[in-house]
């Protein structure tokens, strides 16, 4: 998943000290591990801070792919990436965030505000206590 979607680079705090310091200053990476998702222009679109077990890391990779697509204006692709996170990693902490951004992406792709209302309804069934449910609550329709 990493190699097919990204050019992967790693800097070690001791082994590449000068570059580690230069790039951690550039991107404000203050802790390890930190993983940055950079668009082709080098702009950060998503980050992971701290260790994650494999399933959660894979879910975050999916979120990162979604954010890269979203910020690149490829909203249908973004929704697809977010829905994959929901389907494959429903118990991960990334799932609620994916559900939120899937709805936003569909709205951005279609201009149809029912996508937001449907997302708010989806949060009544899953991830009700997440902060993402609170953010989506404003889209509820009577």
């Amino acid at each position: 998943m990493v190699t097919e979607n990204f050019l992967p680079a790693r800097l070690h705090v001791k082994n590449q000290k000068a570059d580690f310091n230069r790039f951690s200053d550039r991107y404000g990476a203050q802790w390890t591990p930190t993983t940055l998702f950079l668009d082709p222009g080098g702009v950060e679109r998503h980050r992971i801070e701290g260790f994650l077990p494999a399933d959660d890391f894979l879910a975050q990779l999916g979120l990162g792919l979604g954010q890269l697509a979203f910020h690149g204006g490829r909203h249908a692709d973004a929704e697809r990436h977010f829905r994959v996170v929901l389907e494959r990693h429903p118990a991960s902490e990334s799932a609620a965030e994916a559900q939120y951004w899937a709805g936003v992406s569909r709205y951005k792709a279609t201009g149809d505000a029912t996508a937001l209302a449907e997302t708010a309804r989806a949060f009544e069934e899953r991830y009700q206590t997440s902060s993402w449910a609170k953010k989506a609550s404003v889209w509820k329709r009577p």
Partner: protein, 32 residues
């Protein structure tokens, strides 16, 4: 599958721009 991490980050960013592909930049302190 093993990830072929590179540490020539300037070149990785150049390649990302040229290929229109995102980069994953990992800052690590893990024992090597």
């Amino acid at each position: 599958m093993e990830i072929a991490w590179r540490n020539d980050v300037d070149k990785v960013l150049e390649d990302a721009k040229a290929q229109g592909k995102p980069a994953l930049l990992d800052f690590s302190a893990a024992p090597m």
